[in-house]
């Protein structure tokens, strides 16, 4: 019972980080697989809409492990929320809360603010910016960069790859610029 209570609390970085790091040797040793998640998006393209584009002409079935993996991530998200959900409100920095309140965020109850991620926002300008435009940047950018936080920042850095360090720095710069420079403008629309 106490164990369940412990699991339900948010996990500190020094528990979660090493567990995520262990994914690298786990995938390598159970099946000679290099860790990376954004490739799953490419495999979905190759499987569903290859459209005779050479970038999608490969044997995606051989890479199907990656799709099993991301399906697992989805199921894991479901299980964690159904059975181990934190009963308390998420604790984030007071400074962040103040900054987000200034932007107009009112809901701090879940992991994502309902002000942005409520289903009814899907067909609004908010939805267009936060889901369609943002998602497009994630898919286009990760593929152009040849990987995402997992493929470059975790797998690539773990394997001491300089290009992955460059990519990771650019991920961070892009994020800082978006949050610090563009988001205040974007929120003026709402």
């Amino acid at each position: 019972m106490e164990l369940i209570e412990l699991i339900k609390k948010p996990w500190p970085w020094y528990v979660a980080g090493p567990l995520i790091g262990l994914t690298v040797p786990t995938l390598l040793l159970i099946g000679n697989k290099s860790f990376g998640i954004s490739s799953s998006l490419r495999h979905i393209c190759a499987a569903c809409f290859p459209a005779n584009i050479s970038f999608f002409k490969y044997n995606w079935k051989k890479e199907v492990w990656n799709l099993f993996f991301v399906a697992g991530v989805l199921v894991g998200g479901f299980l964690a929320t159904q059975f181990f959900e934190n009963p308390n409100q998420i604790v984030i920095s007071e400074k962040t809360i103040a900054a987000l309140q200034e932007l107009g965020i009112r809901d701090f109850a879940g992991l994502m603010p309902a002000d942005l991620f409520a289903l009814e926002n899907v067909l609004s300008l908010k939805g267009f910016i936060f889901f369609v435009f943002g998602g497009f940047l994630v898919g286009f950018g990760t593929r152009w960069a040849g990987g995402c936080t997992s493929g470059h920042s975790i797998m690539g850095l773990s394997n001491l790859q300089l290009p992955s360090l460059i990519a990771t720095c650019c991920f961070m710069i892009g994020g800082f610029v978006m949050v610090q420079v563009f988001l205040p403008f974007i929120f003026k629309f709402f």
């Binding site: 970085w13 020094y14 528990v15 979660a16 980080g17 090493p18 567990l19 995520i20 790091g21 390598l28 040793l29 099946g31 000679n32 290099s34 954004s38 998006l41 490419r42 393209c45 970038f55 051989k62 890479e63 990656n66 099993f68 991301v70 697992g72 991530v73 199921v75 894991g76 998200g77 299980l79 964690a80 998420i90 920095s93 900054a99 987000l100 992991l111 369609v132 943002g134 998602g135 497009f136 994630v138 898919g139 950018g141 593929r143 995402c148 997992s150 920042s153 975790i154 773990s158 394997n159 992955s164 991920f171 710069i173 994020g175 800082f176 610029v177 978006m178 949050v179 610090q180 988001l183």
Partner: protein
Amino acid sequence: MVTNHTNTVSFPEHLGCDSPNDMVKRESTLGNLKYLVVGVMFGIVFVKAEIISWFRIQEMFRLHSFHMYGVIGSAVVVGMISIFLIKKFNIKTISGETVQFHPKKFMRGQIYGGLLFGMGWGITGACPGPLFAQIGSGYVAVIVTLLSAIAGTWTYGLLKDRLPN
């Protein structure tokens, strides 16, 4: 047992894949369930450490908290030590194969694409992994983000030869 493919050809080098399958032995659908199980574990950690939270990403890009830096930093340290040990002791996979590593080549796309992805990360609060975990956690609207990310990947494939790589 159903085998759904032949595993003789590795991923075409000129097309590049950041997470290729290097296993020589064929894997069945049942064998692929291993990766589903690893994914489930991973997804649980994502939710429990709040990595999928838009709030946590905002905190990170405002330098208001060490949490995300601690998660990524300690993950890299553990990954580094693991790879060092695998190379040093030539540890084989469970089916006895030598573990394959792929040196990455520098390409300008890592800069341009990296910056674009970073901006998307700052808006959506998600990199590709957390997108799946957010949907699993019940944030149904994120399905739109995922579909758009797939469209973004597809558009990159279409424009690839016209972009500086």
